[in-house]
């Protein structure tokens, strides 16, 4: 319940934050909302020398439009994403996904960027971000670089963000008029996803014109089942047709085998949830 002692800095600019990271070496942790980091510190599973809190940097928080993209600041709380009119209009999938993260209190503090950089395989934002083709703005000593979602999630709890870098914003291409569903499977409401499937679709004349899917907790990183997305195009969004199209959604996945279910069970769940997500998204 008591973290080990650390030094604490709360820079007000990205430049200062980067300087602190550079000086701090390996034992630095970046604090955003802290809803994953602080429990880890309390259980003493990590014991950094220095914590750099991004909470006081202006400009990292909020949702804005930038041409054909939404720009979501890294320290925008989940609650703000879930209730943002802009997000609802242009990236509906994130509304439901961000609204299912943990519980309301955590959604008030926890941040969009923080959750993505934390990259918990059971977290609810990586798969939607991947499905939406988001790109990630990462500031580092050499300036700002942009990383595509497929290159961002590297492994369990590991992203493209280096130790001397900070995620500043996430660019989400507008998918205005697309509808979405996030099918999250849990045993109790507050739980991390056992499996979840994110789906966002564009329906034209009663058939699926475009579909993008993301799988949560079906491997060490989120998965975008591109073949299944292709299968769905041109289909009427009804159960049987969709069921066939998503039959291979779990092919090649390596889901965990733990208290909440075997790997086989998770693959089965992914198929059921994919069908449900697509049908519900199309009907939304």
């Amino acid at each position: 319940m008591i973290p080990t002692a650390f030094e604490y800095e709360s820079p007000t600019t990205v430049e200062d934050a980067l300087r602190l990271l550079a000086e701090g070496g390996e034992d630095v942790k970046v604090l955003a909302g802290g809803q994953s980091l602080i429990p880890v510190l309390k259980l003493r599973l990590a014991g950094p020398e220095l914590i750099v809190d991004l909470g006081r940097i202006e400009g990292l928080r909020g949702v804005r439009e930038d041409g054909d993209a939404l720009v979501i600041g890294a320290t925008t709380p989940h609650h703000e994403v879930a209730t943002s009119a802009l997000v609802r209009e242009h990236a509906a999938l994130l509304v439901e996904a961000a609204g299912t993260v943990a519980d309301p209190q955590v959604r008030h503090r926890g941040t969009f960027g923080g959750a993505l950089v934390h990259a918990d395989p059971a977290g609810d934002l990586p798969a939607p971000a991947l499905a939406l083709g988001a790109s990630f703005e990462i500031a580092g000593p050499a300036g700002v670089r942009t990383v595509a979602a497929e290159d961002f999630f590297v492994d369990l709890f590991t992203t493209a963000v280096g130790e001397d870098e900070i995620l500043t914003a996430v660019r989400v291409p507008k998918r205005t008029g697309w509808t979405a569903a996030y099918e999250k499977f849990v045993r109790v409401a507050q739980q991390w996803s056992i499996v979840a499937v994110a789906a966002t679709v564009r329906v034209e004349d009663g058939v699926i014109a475009d579909a993008r899917l993301g799988l949560t907790n079906m491997g060490s990183t989120p998965i975008r089942p591109a073949a299944v997305e292709q299968n769905l195009v041109g289909l009427a969004p009804v159960g049987e047709a969709v069921e066939g199209a998503v039959a291979d959604v779990a092919a090649g996945t390596t889901p965990p085998d733990d208290l909440n279910g075997t790997a086989d069970y998770r693959r089965h769940l992914a198929r059921v949830l994919a069908r449900r997500a697509v049908v519900r998204a199309a009907g939304a």
């Binding site: 080990t4 045993r187 109790v188 056992i194 075997t262």
Partner: protein
Amino acid sequence: MTVTEIGSPRKRKEDQRLITGRSRYTDNMVLPGMLHLAAVRSPFAHARITGVDTSAAVTAPGVVTVLTGADVAEAQGSLPNAWPITPDQVAPPHPAIAVDRVTFAGEIVAVVVARSRHEAQDAADLVDVDYDELPVVLDLEEAEKDDVLAHPDLGTNRSAFWVFDSAEAGTGGDVEDALAAAGADDQILLERTYYQQRLIPAFMEPRSTVVDPTADQITMWSSTQVPHILRLMLALTLGIPESKVRVIAPDVGGGFGGKLQVTPEEVITMLAARRTGKPCKFTETRSESLMAAHHGRGQVQRLALSARRDGTVTGLKVQLLADMGSYLGLVTSGVPILGAFMFPAIYKFPSYRFECTNLFTNKAWTDAYRGAGRPEATFAIERLMDDLAAELDMDPIELRRKNWIAHEEFPFTTVCGLEYDTGNYEAATARALELFGYDELRAEQRRRRDDGDPVQLGIGVSTFTEMCGLAPSRVLGSLDYGAGGWEYAQVRMLPTGNVEVVTGVSAHGQGHETAWSQIVADRLGVPFDDVQVLHGDTAIAQRGLDTYGSRSLAVGGMAVVAAADKVIAKARVIAAHMLEAADDDLEFTDGRFTVRGTDQGVALGDVALATFAAHDLPDGVEPSLDSDATFDPENFSFPHGTHLAAMEVDTETGQVTLRSYVCVDDVGTVINPLIVEGQIHGGLVQGIAQALFEEAVHDESGTLVTGSFVDYLVPSAADVPSFITDRTETASTTNVLGVKGVGEAGTIASTPAIVNGVIDAVRHLGVDDILMPCSPGRVWAALQGADKGRGAEAAVPTVNSPEVADRDIASTGAVQTGTDQGEQQ
């Protein structure tokens, strides 16, 4: 006595401080110079301690001292077990701090005492302990084999073997005869093995203890259900004169049996305070609490039941393996014995045999958890009755009706020798069926089956009874319990007419302050608000046996009644003197003594004032109305009820949803319906949680995998529905209040109702058992197994709960169990 308060939905007196944050939980306590404790706990389930190096810790900032097992070996004694169930019960010494061996993961090996919690925790990380790992035994069926021993020194994992046999006791026939006869054509033999997973009480307030050694009498505040037992046991364990110890249970944040214990942490805090001469505090984290506070349940239940084809049960044989964990706590060994008398439940079984083998494993010790023995028994019999009904293709209600005790047959002596005083199972069941819409739901169930709906509906039935009001002291004596079952109360008349009621039971959420006020207000005819109830402090409530086993009202409430009656008797003498009348001519109603046939009278408050002044009392009468009483019940009380659950099973995912739940409970006379309803609601969710969510899971090395609320799934408001609750009232005849007890009813009844409902939803698909908790993964695996005929893969391989997905069921005749563990694993 005019009854206006009893039965009234009084809002609770306890609430004001709790809703405004002016609570007094133990961890809120701060004393001058107080030191803080942090524990070093074993990561291994079984290991020899080969070295404890505290040198870095003792020199760390703020550290006052570090205690190891070796440091306190002489002083710490052995933690108590108050219930040696057999004369030859085997038990290891139970140190507060392990000395040379640890026997479960989480056992304390050293304790740092420092000026702040932060410093204590920092230094605890610096204590270096060397271990030699030893083989662990975790699974009950493995423990039974005695191949690997939890305590090699004992030479066996068996702590005790306890038997009740109705033929030997003369309370019924010989069950072996009944089972043998079931081989005949017109009879049925059901054999089943059910598993009671380990649970964790998970009271919301982590345990905390503060000890102040700075006065002549050492004061301990502790988050405990049992301040009186704790005081006595501290004295016996540590060799401190009992009179030198005062124990206070201030606001206590839930217990559910989990705080019915004398804990290592309490003993250690006492030792640390005495050694340092400073007030000391030990507050556990949730992780520590889940790991090392005692667990509950943990049984393998091997059952055989014989019946005629008309549904009449002829015999029941129960063979239990009960998981003690690695030590015997306060009543660890007795918990399964409390269940021994409850397997025959509400039924007229003619023969019964119960055998229990208590086994040690390398896990945290088990002990009381809400219901303690009785939920396990109720689960087994209610699951069996449903299986029997399915086997006979009978409605489960009809089968129960055929076997239960009819209301006109009370009082009824059961095959266990218990005398059930009253009950009306017909009335409770009829009301429950009506509220539930039983026939409509059965029709929907048929529809869904016929349509092959992916969501199937099941109806779970549980008709339960329990023995409450623990306990008649002579019965406890006959069961070798180390204490009696009486309870104490004192009623004090203040000169203003206010009343102080002291009770020996110790509330931790049950609303005693309110309910006792209602009883006394009626009894003495004083306003509800004029009554103050005091409890939970051995210096104020100087005697008591505390709160557990749904005993507070049926035993403690009766002591209050007896003490109040003594006050009236004492006041009558003084009132007669004041009114210049004979005692016999006085009537006492509504708080006033009146001379029969006149309008002359005096209020009890005036008598209290006159007694206080003592200027003019009758000769030889003491100037005090204060009275105390100790009540020892003649019998247990037997609440009962009928619980019905409508369960939806999503056959695609295995997800189980509780759609509706109706319960009609008969808890006898109700003092406060608000409190009764609240107890039922909370009990239901705990029982439902056993059925669907909770399990203490250990990995193969004995580490608790469900070591935080991330994995130990206590349901939230979002995970359960609202319930429809109602009552029938058949007053108990074993106490003048007519009360029976309600604290455990919901928990006891709901677990089998839920699981029966889940099975009922999928039985037609070939599934007749799913392990608790019925997680979606397990349900799905069972359905997959059913598709393949049998032998489903284990959904969640856990050490202490082997997966059993389905069984062979012969379509006619004897039903044989298919639970071969070797095959299933």
